[in-house]
Amino acid sequence: MQDARRLKLEEMIARTALGDREAFEALYDATSAKLHAVCLSVLKDRPEAEETLQEVYIKVWQNAARYAANGLSPMTWLITIARNRAIDRLRARSSRPATASTEAAATVASSEPGPETATIRAQERRLLDECLAQLAEPQAGAVRAVYLEGITYADLAQREGKPINTVRSWLRRSLLRLKDCVSQ
């Protein structure tokens, strides 16, 4: 089921790369509500999220040809573009420097992920919620807030009333635990 969906999205992206507008529209139908939710989660403002969503799909149209080589699953690629765009806009609001573009990672060619990689990834996905639940609530909440709301170490430090270095090492320990847990 999950595999069929992934293949369908991959095909839509491949056809979009060839300039197929119908495939692009189908991709929008299948994914825009999720990407809109990502933009809303970060920006918490409807008009801004809507504008960001438009920028995301314009980028998808322009960069679809580069997708095949990056080795990310289609939803991860799309979610990463949406999240990065939304966070850039969020940081522009407070005139903070834009975040280092992690899209660069998505443009570095990788060897085609084999079926084994896909299976491992699917398993990690399933374990993610379980493993987050194993972290203490402030830690799990911080990981969620950093990813889904784009908060920074400075925000986190302010929220917790602790120095930046303290919250940084605290979050890094949580990330490590999370990784060990999902890749067990």
């Binding site: 809303l40 990463t80 969620r144 950093v146 320990r173 060990d180």
Partner: protein
């Protein structure tokens, strides 16, 4: 692993990859990490692995349908949905900017939009399940909105009434299991609009559609902030 145990160099590297994937790095540290992506395939792979892992967090977000104008905005910005270019794009731009031209352009966009959305004009959609409808009427009967579902396509028509100035009626999909309502966008200001239901929403009896009174463009939070003005259960056609 105890809190005080120092991290191994492998762990340090992997955490740097995680921080880059999360957008937590700033300044020189960020620049160095981005530069490393191109030189160090293992590091780039570690970043991608984190992106995959973390995307699972977004997968759990409730989908929120964007208003139809978002799609139209994308089409316009990409030059899709307009008549094929027959003239120099620069000239077209100045033509577009003249008031008469702008009006003609809007009409053309509207015509294309109508063509794309009119039920009779689009190729038949392969429908998997039965068709459903819901009649949404406010308590004072001033507002009437009809929803009709064919497969995963929904047509929503404003038949009577209108939101107050600066407000919109937002459409919500409510499952009988008590889970959070899912936004399907806003009711068109006049006439009707077609939309595709997000993945995972399957029409059935017991599903209710509700309208809430929201700021223009819809709730800023993704959850209803204004009063529910009408609610109705889906019925089979």
């Amino acid at each position: 692993m105890t809190e005080d145990q120092p991290l191994t160099p492998e762990q340090q590297d992997n955490l740097l990859a995680a921080e880059l994937a999360l957008g937590l790095l700033e300044g020189d540290e960020a620049r160095a990490a981005v530069a490393r992506l191109a030189e160090d395939p293992d590091f780039a792979q570690a970043v991608r692995d984190w992106q995959e892992r973390l995307a699972g967090l977004a997968e759990s977000l409730t989908p929120v349908m964007a208003p139809a104008r978002a799609r139209q905005g994308i089409r316009e910005k990409l030059g899709h949905g307009l008549a094929p270019l027959s003239e120099d794009p620069n000239q077209r731009r100045s033509w577009w900017r003249s008031p008469v031209g702008a009006l003609a352009g809007l009409l053309a966009v509207a015509a294309v939009a109508a063509f794309l959305w009119l039920p009779g004009q689009t190729p038949p959609i392969p429908t998997s399940g039965p068709d459903y409808q819901a009649e949404l009427v406010s308590e004072d009967a001033a507002l009437r909105v009809a929803a009709r579902l064919e497969g995963d396509e929904m047509e929503i028509a404003l038949q009577q009434g209108a939101p107050s100035s600066g407000r919109d009626y937002e459409i919500w999909w409510i499952r009988p299991d008590g889970s959070a309502p899912i936004s399907l966008g806003v009711v068109p200001q006049s006439g009707s609009a077609r939309m595709t239901l997000p993945e995972g929403l399957d029409p059935s009896e017991g599903i209710r559609i509700a309208l809430s009174d929201e700021p223009a463009g819809g709730s800023p939070t993704g959850q209803a902030t204004g009063p529910i003005v009408a609610i109705a259960e889906l019925t089979r056609l």
